[in-house]
Symmetry: C2
Subunit: 225 residues, 2 copies
DNA sequence: ACCCGGCTGTCGGGTTGCTGACGCTTTCTG
DNA sequence: CAGAAAGCGTCAGCAACCCGACAGCCGGGT
């Protein structure tokens, strides 16, 4: 991946857009490129981390895990995206683990680099604050969902998130039921039942590995706290 | 509350320490003072908010609520503390509600004020990033707890949080079982049982309204994910 | 001092969701 | 292309937890 390409990747992220091209190319010259295979770990929770990542290609999930192997997925990123910002700020341990869900290409921005950039480019500092705000909102919402919604509601909500704004009817996916279960913090079997129940009521159409949103409004209703 | 006193309050917060006294006094001159009675709301989730708060006296809880009146407490603040930063960053809606749990005195910093300060004082920007990092860590931990711990474990953990570092044995409190329940997202009755169970095993001593930590290690073990 | 309101402690019944199990189908991989 | 691995669909049994109810207690206000 050449310099220009790396600079282009940076340009598409919220964090690095809005700075001038020259600076961006300078940064692009300093980042390391790291390729991770599907299933491979990018970093692990509780370990110290001094780098932030920019996702150039592929997909990465962030999650927390328990001692006995259970995991809860917090978010799944696709380009353009950045992650690993939190540990960067205070140099503390990673608050979550990151794993590639498919072969991915990452750009690594070091702590020192970013800190310097924060000082010189105030737009980056503001963008970073916005990014953190988004993270806080998302995570807070997740707490709220876990506390107030039953499994069916959480599944409904997650389907809507996955479908994005497939305006009327939506599309197919690359998410297994087990993964879906870890997103909503439930057992795979129970998630299966929830899906079937939603389907039997005609809110979604779900066969095999894909699903389709039929009655968006009803789903949103189920997903309301 | 006079200017000097306000400046002193600011000086004790992570956000405003580290800037020079003159600047701090200037800010102190711009903040509004707001007094809220016990049980009164400071701001409400989903409403737009353009102010950040510094807690000068009293105590404030942040929480999210469901349509049918259920609430989950995210954190309880005591001075020195700041809250309401998130909505400030992007001007978006409040991600949670805030309510005084006792008579409190607040300083109100406006969005414009803080944004200007961020630009002129880079140490403030860095402190704000650290503050947000803390929030993310705390909330992520809460997701993890809800996903992995049973009620007993969550209660154990919350007791440890409430006790702080009452190094060997700890202290009495002003938290009802109903409040404790909302902190761990459980029913009041079940929390009661959890307390009794912990007591019967000699991990805590809990009578009436207060509790005391007897076997910190065991509690921590229960609270591990 | 007394009364009222809120808090604690405790039951029992009813759900929800987890666990383990198993057969079938689909998807990788050599 | 064949075998292995992963994923789906489904069931029965079981544990955790919620909900409504209610009796005693305590504390605070008038």
């Amino acid at each position: 991946m050449d310099l220009q390409k790396r600079a282009d990747v940076l340009a598409r992220t919220e964090l690095f857009q809005g700075i001038d091209g020259a600076t961006r190319r300078r940064i692009a010259g300093h980042v390391a490129v790291r390729v991770v295979e599907r299933g491979q770990c990018v970093f692990t929770q509780d370990q110290s981390g001094d780098g932030m990542y920019v996702l150039a290609e592929g997909a990465v999930k962030l999650y927390v895990s328990s001692r006995d192997g259970g995991i809860v997925e917090l978010v799944r990123h696709r380009p353009p995206a950045t992650f690993g910002e939190v540990a960067l700020l205070d140099g503390g341990p990673r608050s979550a683990s990151a794993e590639a869900t498919e072969r991915s290409v990452l750009l690594v921005v070091t702590r020192g680099e970013l800190l310097a950039l924060l000082r010189s480019e105030e737009r980056v500092a503001e963008a970073l604050l916005r990014t953190l705000g988004t993270i806080v909102r998302r995570t807070t919402r997740q707490v709220s969902d876990l506390a107030f919604l039953d499994l069916q509601g959480r599944v409904a909500r997650q389907l809507l998130v996955l479908a994005g704004n497939g305006n009327g009817v939506a599309l197919t996916r690359q998410v297994t039921q087990a993964e879906l279960a870890s997103m909503v913090s439930g057992a795979r079997q129970t998630v299966n039942q929830a899906l079937r129940s939603l389907e039997s009521r005609g809110y979604i159409r779900a066969g095999g590995r894909g699903f389709e949103i039929v009655d968006r409004e009803r789903l949103e209703q189920l997903a309301e706290r």
